[in-house]
Point group: C2
Chain length 687, copies 2
């Protein structure tokens, strides 16, 4: 222990006569059946050492308050905590302090390796080492921009156990890659030659997908063990069974420490293998889609977070052209937890441009992105037309008529714009007259807007249903081409679990301590009343492909799109490891609906609303009482809980009936020319 401490810390301890104690709190908690929850253990240690109360009295008080705090959650949880209390002191050890500093003790080290870019190492690294006060103002970007892709340099090594891949059992479905909240599980297919210099422990298997099998490609799933939080969701969703060892799957948890070094090497090697060509991937298959590189990696979100898989998915699909307005809330914190950010970029340097705005104006903030991007694109288009003969008519026409309907189109437009920029460089040194030269200069500054951008407005239910709803509604009515992602945890997760309008009836939350008496606000239905908004309600754990389909449709729709994504949360009082499976039961009980409302279908003579699920068959009681937020009310106020439960079941029944009607009704077709987008101002498009 002593040898681990830096020189400066040793010096303080010796000179200030500080007593130092250590405890393996995780071991105590684990043995008591409490998993990684060490708060009770650490509380005992504090009172044992701080002498604010006689030790016996302190322990008695702790036990009393355990009953008070956890009583509603059940006797088993109380007993676990009592057991942890009793075991804690046996594991508390005093460290013997030598008289002098260890001559081998080092300085407090910058946690960023020397291989990192200078700004990350010298500025962000210093902040992490708590030496931020030594950074000169001149080292900081004066325009407020910050580099992305920085969280990956901050190896946190927080997981006691990490998933380990079994290449022989794996069916290569990609589900573990999809659901991983921290983007630490990755898959790749590649030529066998890429294995030539692989480390000895690097695993691979022949690719099973027919597209890849026929060219004898290899397949690997690699875990970033140092970035994993150990939530175990990947193991829960793995559908592959190990026939010889029935308790094991194709991915299994194992202690991190023994394999840390080896997996660091494997991870680096994995990253060095080229990504498959994005344009060849079949995005309707998870195994294919999950080969797309995520541009959101290693966030500081809770282990098992239900929100981050959706953000990661969006960055896989559209990250190289995304512009993101992120409302305050969990996602703004784990998305920008200074000094690092998980938002990152690909090898070409393309990645999401991200900024956080307030709870109360984020939708408007994102709409502003769209308005300014459209205006700059319009200006660039005018300049291309005006300079067409100098640029070359073929190139100009190619740029101006590009549809950019899919990724291959966008790739080609990028190539054209690269040629354009080269040509503009030549023109700026030519003998064009002054007014044309001015146009060349202006076009150089806006040429990038000729390539399609994907505008995303992101936040939680506290933002979307409550504080920012006024602006959200205005954006919904705007008709502009923006994509709104609401990660609905049904509670203010980040500020301590206050009820929001998204909180379901009967759930206990702050400000709803007797169980919320009114039903959950139906944001999707309210958005559908506009008629020209694409609306999808998804739950990744219930139907993986449905989420992907909704994201693709939403982004492609040339109007406002709203995706409401069920996001489980530690605030629900659930087993986070099985949270994705729980989402499935949620849908089967009708508590969460899967649907897509596509306005363009009206123009095709179809009903715009598609219900993407069967009729609910499970009683809501069953799924509700798997969550402590509901269960605790049944213990503390059984009569109220019973009444609310019945109402909650009625809510589900009535709502399902309504949605069935909406999905079945015959609509009249507008004008035969398809559905009007209803944009107040005409969209500017580069075509």
């Amino acid at each position: 222990m002593w040898q681990q401490l830096p020189r400066l810390v040793q010096d303080h301890i010796i000179n200030k006569n500080i007593n130092v104690y250590v405890i393996n709190a995780y071991e105590v908690a684990r043995n008591a059946g409490m998993g990684g929850r060490i708060n009770t253990v650490m509380q005992v240690c504090f009172f044992a050492l701080a002498n604010v109360l006689p030790r016996e009295e302190a322990i008695a008080q702790i036990k009393k308050y355990i009953r008070k705090t956890y009583g509603k959650k059940g006797e088993d949880i109380v007993q676990m905590n009592i057991k942890a209390v009793d075991a804690a002191l046996d594991h508390l050890h005093q460290v013997t302090i030598p008289n002098a500093i260890d001559e081998n003790a080092g300085d407090i080290h910058n946690p960023i390796p020397d291989t990192a870019p200078a700004f990350i190492r010298d500025v962000l690294g210093k902040m992490m080492a708590r030496q931020g006060e030594d950074i000169p103002v001149s080292a900081l970007p004066c325009d407020g921009t910050y580099p992305s892709g920085t969280a990956k340099w901050e190896k946190r090594n927080v997981a006691q156990e990490v998933p380990v891949w079994d290449e022989d059992v794996c069916v290569q479905c990609g589900k573990c890659v999809l659901v991983c909240p921290h983007a630490v599980i990755r898959s790749k297919v590649y030529e066998e030659a890429a294995l030539t210099n692989a480390p000895a422990s690097f695993k691979s298997a022949p690719a099973k997908d027919l597209d890849w099998k026929k060219t004898n490609l290899k397949f690997t799933i690699q875990v970033a063990a140092e970035d994993c939080t150990g939530c175990g969701i990947c193991v829960d969703v793995c559908p592959a069974k190990n026939k010889s060892q029935p308790k094991l799957k194709a991915i299994n948890m194992a202690p991190q420490l023994p394999i840390r070094e080896q997996e660091r090497e494997n991870w680096d090697y994995f990253l060095s293998i080229a990504n498959p060509d994005r344009n060849t991937l079949k995005l309707n298959k998870i195994s294919h889609q999950q080969m797309q590189e995520p541009l959101f990696e290693f966030s500081g979100a809770c282990a098992g977070c239900g929100e981050t898989p959706y953000i990661k998915l969006a960055t896989q699909l559209f990250g190289d052209r995304m512009v993101v307005a992120n409302a305050t809330g969990c996602s703004s914190i784990y998305g920008g937890n200074l000094p690092t950010t998980p938002w990152t970029h690909n090898q070409e340097g393309r990645g999401p441009a991200w900024s956080n705005s307030l709870f109360e104006d984020n939708a408007e903030f994102g709409l502003g992105f769209r308005v300014s991007i459209d205006k700059q694109a319009e200006f660039a288009t005018e300049l291309v037309k005006s300079l067409a003969s100098d640029i070359g008519e073929t190139l100009a026409t190619g740029i101006l008529t590009a549809q950019q309907k899919d990724e291959a189109d966008i790739f080609e437009q990028r190539e054209r714009v690269a040629i354009l920029k080269h040509r503009l460089g030549e023109l700026s040194n030519s003998n064009l007259d002054e007014s044309m030269q001015a146009k060349v200069t202006m076009l150089q500054s806006v040429a990038d807007y000729l390539v399609k951008k994907s505008v995303w407005i992101i936040g939680g239910d506290g933002w979307a249903y409550d504080i920012g709803y006024g602006g959200l509604d205005h954006v919904l009515a705007s008709g502009r081409n923006v994509n709104i992602l609401v990660m609905d945890t049904e509670v203010y997760s980040n500020t301590g679990g206050q009820a929001s309008k998204a909180t379901p009836r009967a759930a206990v939350a702050k400000f709803a301590s007797g169980g919320k008496p009114s039903p959950k606000k139906d944001l999707g239905l309210m958005a559908m009343t506009y008629g020209n908004v694409y609306v999808a309600s998804v739950a990744m754990g219930a139907k993986n492909e449905h989420s992907i389909k909704a994201f693709l449709e939403a982004e492609a729709y040339e109007g406002v799109s709203l995706i409401i994504a069920y996001s489980h949360c530690i605030a629900h009082g659930i087993n986070m490891t099985t949270a994705m499976s729980h989402q499935q039961e949620l849908v089967e009980s009708g508590r969460w609906l899967l649907y897509r409302y596509h306005p363009d279908l009206v123009g095709e003579g179809k009903n715009p609303l598609q219900l993407d699920m069967r009729s609910p068959k499970l009683p809501v009681e069953r799924t509700m009482y798997q969550e402590n937020r509901f269960k605790m009310l049944a213990r503390s106020k059984p009569d109220a809980a019973k009444k609310l439960l019945k109402q909650a079941q009625n809510d589900v029944n009535t709502r399902w009936q309504m949605y069935q009607y909406l999905a079945a009704r015959q609509l009249e077709i507008g004008n035969g020319n398809g559905h009007s987008k209803g944009n107040i101002e005409k969209e500017t498009t580069v075509n």
Copy 2:
């Protein structure tokens, strides 16, 4: 003319050598067929006199811009304006200025009569006479409160013509009283004895209603001729025909000047007759209900305003216990156009307490009223319990168990509280111990909260659909007992006619100059998705009794109530005189729906939604093209107008289909104990 001018004005004119011209612009406009629109006439006079352009050129330019400005509205409107231009100069006369001030000329007079209360005469009167700079700060209320009932002292005499009642033709239905936007038409029934000292020209007739006929009561309709704006809506809605003169009804327009003095005397006499007992009125009959005294009179709203009749109605029904939060917009301007306000009080001094708040927080502002009133009522209840033996157990029990379900109940509670306050006065001089004395003092300050208050949150569509919608939605979800009145003019009326989310598809407005391309936001449907909000959509002109019923139900519902009231507006480009009749066609075409959604019906096993109209039978085209906001698009962009018209018809059809489903579906019944109000915090009631 010269004799009319005050001494100070004559002095300025003479000493500054000012030229003075007069024109009877109303006569010129009327002769040109333009009714009361004098802007063109006055513009001609300005250019004729100001010499900024040669007169001929100025006239030519005016005519050119008349074509440009009004061309879209049709050739007939252009021709009317041209005719007015040509006639204007013939009617412009120069006033001969004498060399000296007329010896009989008076001072600028305070427009408020001496009979008015001192504050109104000396402070508000000075402001009206533009002598506000002479008012000392000490004359103004230091807490910001202002007396109500002040607009009635400001006789504006703006109407060229006013309605005159024909007592022989009248069927005594009360419709003219109901629709009058300025509360200048009143009805009363009374004993014949009350006529003893009536002026010679005071009219009356035997009461026709059976309830009143059997006791030989007399009936009068009286017009406040000096406060009328001359809109003529009363004449349009009058159902009684004069059989001998088919062009006349039971109320007819006639020049105001000849009858001004006589009607002033009649009005004052009318006010001196006692109001009938409120508790004997049958509120489901307009003729009865309109005997209720309005506590909103003589506002500065436009002639024919579609909003004010709703406000007036609310004050008739609940005015003596109303607390009003009024959003910015037309209603905040005509509701508080300093120095006077039309909000007033009855003879007992009871009337609405009113304040204006911002567009962006008015719903929250009103919710705050409810929260604080409930808290004070709760405190008062605790004090009554605690002091019961001193107050007297019978009185205390009476106060604490009062239901206050209707007006008679509330009247009785007021009586009890009056006795309580008297008793508290006695107790404060008794030998109670110090802590009990403190309670007596506290109860004196909150005793009035033991009587039920009616909280109203009022505004237009710019507030409710747009800028204040975030807060409105939060209040809708709160479950608290507040009443929200949205006066929906479908456009930002007060700031110049910008499109709001309430603007219907195809209407031309600022920011929607090509016709609004997206459908009107369905605020009522969005509110109904909560399930526990009372929602009514009304149009007074389409069905008078329906509006009254909705107001009564909304106020009685112990949760959030939302009334969306169609309000015609000069911004629609309609004939304001027939605006109430136009509302009927609006409903018959399905452009506006009449319905009531009553959550309590669920507990009775009924569908909460009732459609209070027949299936739409008129094409929307017919009603739309009676409004210039739609018609002008058909002229300027006929193809776009045609497409939008078709979509607008589809909007109506689809919406009607949806509402029919909602009104017909079978709902499951909650818990057999009636519907949960879904209040986050339990309502405090005094029982």
